[in-house]
């Protein structure tokens, strides 16, 4: 009886969730667009977008129009895509490492991406593509080092998070060294702010790059969804149900590194999104990756959109780096998971 009722709840949720997810995402984006400086209303949004679509609407004053179109809209959309990207990375890495604490930030991949991006910035080659390429090289180096240090015990070793933290510290130190060596006070200040994770410099090109990367990565990860389910039972069990374990790991490690690199080069290293979001989604939509991955993407988008809205208004006109809020939410959850595993 109990089990059939649980099944009913599940199927009930399954039919409501897609609609709920879509509504939550649209409402969050719309609300976040009108929150903050400038006194923007929903009517202003309609007119800004209407003008772009060639609809017969009253155009706004050029200053307000460019505030909304050039700053606010890209910023909120970037928050949504980066949030989705980090949540998907977290969900995939947790499955690959069989560790509930895995996320691109805690495994040191974000720090590696930061180092690569900063290297490109201080040497002054800095185009968007150059910074992203640097971040990708950094992220892959961090992953390579992590795998090297875990050689022998395997990717799903219990040491993976501890090793990841060490790798992250190394790359953070390298980043500081690069910044100090560059000796330019302005660069140092802006890069330091970016390193903490901030959406203040969001532009349309970053939004588009990040959206394409996130959508492609989600598609690839979704292709491997049942492989990720099977990997939860270890490499041998996964292989015996037909999963090509080596290929799955390789493809998904490269995909998550790339996505992390794109996210970091757009907004800096925002931590804990990949940790928090998949845990919440497992609770609501269940642990199967077929549903976990897309809902993590949506929930990650909603989460970061709200975190960024908070970052804009809490100490206005002063802006708080959004990474501060995600860390404030993530650290207690990290401790909760550790405690549940009986390691604290």
């Amino acid at each position: 009886m109990i089990s059939s009722r649980q099944a009913d709840v599940r199927t009930g949720r399954a039919s409501v969730l897609p609609a709920a997810a879509a509504v939550a995402l649209l409402a969050s984006v719309a609300t976040s667009l009108v929150i903050g400086t400038g006194g923007i209303g929903y009517g202003d949004l309609v007119s800004v977008i209407g003008v772009r679509l060639g609809l017969p609407v009253e155009p706004l004053a050029p200053l307000t129009d460019s505030l909304i179109w050039q700053l606010r809209i890209p910023r909120v959309l970037l928050a949504a895509t980066v949030g989705a990207a980090l949540a998907v990375c977290g969900a995939v890495l947790q499955a690959l490492t069989r560790n509930a604490l895995a996320d691109p930030y805690l495994l040191g991949v974000s720090s590696g991406a930061s180092t690569g991006a900063v290297l490109v910035v201080v040497t002054g080659i800095g185009s968007t593509v150059g910074v992203t390429a640097g971040a990708l090289a950094g992220a892959l180096s961090a992953f390579g080092l992590l795998l090297l240090l875990l050689r022998g015990s395997g990717l799903d070793s219990l040491r993976v998070v501890l090793t990841g933290v060490v790798v992250g510290q190394l790359f953070t130190a390298l980043t500081s060294l690069l910044l100090m060596a560059s000796g330019d006070a302005d660069t140092t200040r802006s890069v330091t702010y970016w390193l903490l994770g901030s959406l203040a410099s969001a532009r349309w090109d970053g939004v588009i790059l990040c959206a394409i990367a996130t959508a492609s990565a989600l598609l690839v990860a979704r292709y491997y969804a049942s492989s990720l389910d099977a990997l939860g039972f270890g490499a041998d069990t996964a292989a015996s149900v037909g999963v090509d374990v080596r290929r799955t790991r390789l493809v998904l490690l490269v995909v998550t590194s790339t996505l992390t690199a794109v996210a970091v080069s757009a907004v800096g290293a925002i931590g804990f999104v990949g940790l928090i979001v998949p845990h919440g989604v497992r609770f609501l939509a269940g642990p199967l990756h077929r549903t976990l991955l897309p809902y993590s993407a949506v929930a990650g988008a909603v989460f970061l959109v709200w975190a960024d809205a908070l970052a804009r208004v809490l100490l206005a006109p002063q802006e708080v780096p959004v990474g501060v809020f995600t860390a404030l939410a993530g650290v207690p959850l990290f401790l909760l998971i550790l405690r549940r595993r009986g390691e604290l």
Binding site: S3, S4, G232, T237, S240, G242, D244
Partner: protein, 271 residues
């Protein structure tokens, strides 16, 4: 399905775990793999399942060498159930059994009615239907083991390899599981510690010692000779119980020597 291994050798870190094991398992046969701890039972099963690439030798299913198989194709021939079922997963029991249908599903498609029916059937066979919506983390060791076996069965392969499938099961489930496997048309390879169960349910036994296959034959032959004493260091006697099932009585070598030792001490005292 016929399974044959030819001079199968496996080495790791310079140590040879399997020494040129050659065996041939007939279609529908139940082969028991016995041997002391560290004799290579798990490694042999993993090599046969294609999970370890042998350093030398070949494994063939129905005459086809698995070295060139993709993981997915291999999963259509053989299912493997690991010994250690201790995994912290949040999947439901039915989802875990559904993993056995992975090799038949396209990545984009969910489970179809046939998959659902097979999963329901295997849950029923393993006595787990009432637990189908329970989360994995809430199961007992024996329930997890049965769920893993149901997952292996759901793969519907011609050959099933099980590494110590009864070590967490209660006595009734041990007998039921082994009886079901022995009477199934599937070719079954199963590693066991309990020699009575091995003698009763297996058509033939393979005795491993330090990675070498030292005996392969019907239980009566393998257990009757001095081999068990040489390999396990215990004395085994194959007898028959009141309903005609084989039963293996075991004594450590010192136990057998003890009575005479006691007698001789008494004699010594008397003298």
């Amino acid at each position: 399905m016929r399974l044959d291994a030819d001079h199968l050798t496996w080495e790791t870190a310079g140590r040879r775990i399997l020494h040129a094991v050659t065996l041939d398992v007939r279609p529908g046969e139940t082969l028991g793999i016995i041997g002391p701890n560290g004799s290579g039972k798990s490694t042999l099963l993993r090599c046969l399942a294609g999970l370890r690439t042998p350093s030398a030798g070949t494994v063939r299913y129905d005459g086809r060498d698995i070295a060139r198989f993709t993981a997915k194709r291999l999963a259509h021939y053989v299912a493997f159930v690991e010994q250690d079922a201790q995994v912290a997963s949040e999947l439901r029991v039915a989802d875990v059994v559904m993993l056995g249908r992975t090799p038949y599903r396209s990545p984009w498609r969910g489970s179809d009615e046939r998959d659902q029916a097979i999963v329901a059937e295997e849950l029923e066979r393993m006595g787990l239907s009432h637990l189908r919506d329970r989360p994995w983390r809430g199961l007992s060791g024996g329930e997890r083991q049965r769920a893993h076996i149901a997952r292996g069965l759901a793969q519907r392969t011609g050959c099933l390899l099980l590494d110590e499938p009864v070590n967490h099961l209660d006595i009734r489930h041990q007998l039921e599981l082994l009886g079901m496997l022995a009477s199934s048309p599937t070719t079954v390879l199963i590693s066991l510690h309990d020699l009575t169960l091995a003698a009763r349910f297996c058509d033939r036994l393979a005795l491993l010692d330090h990675g070498r296959l030292v005996a392969l034959g019907p239980p009566g032959e393998v257990l009757a000779g001095d081999l068990v004493r040489a390999v396990f260091g215990v004395d085994a006697r194959l007898e028959t119980d009141h309903v005609g099932h084989p039963i293996v009585t075991l004594h450590t070598v010192t136990e057998l020597e003890a009575p005479s030792a006691v007698v001789s001490t008494e004699q010594g005292d008397r003298a």
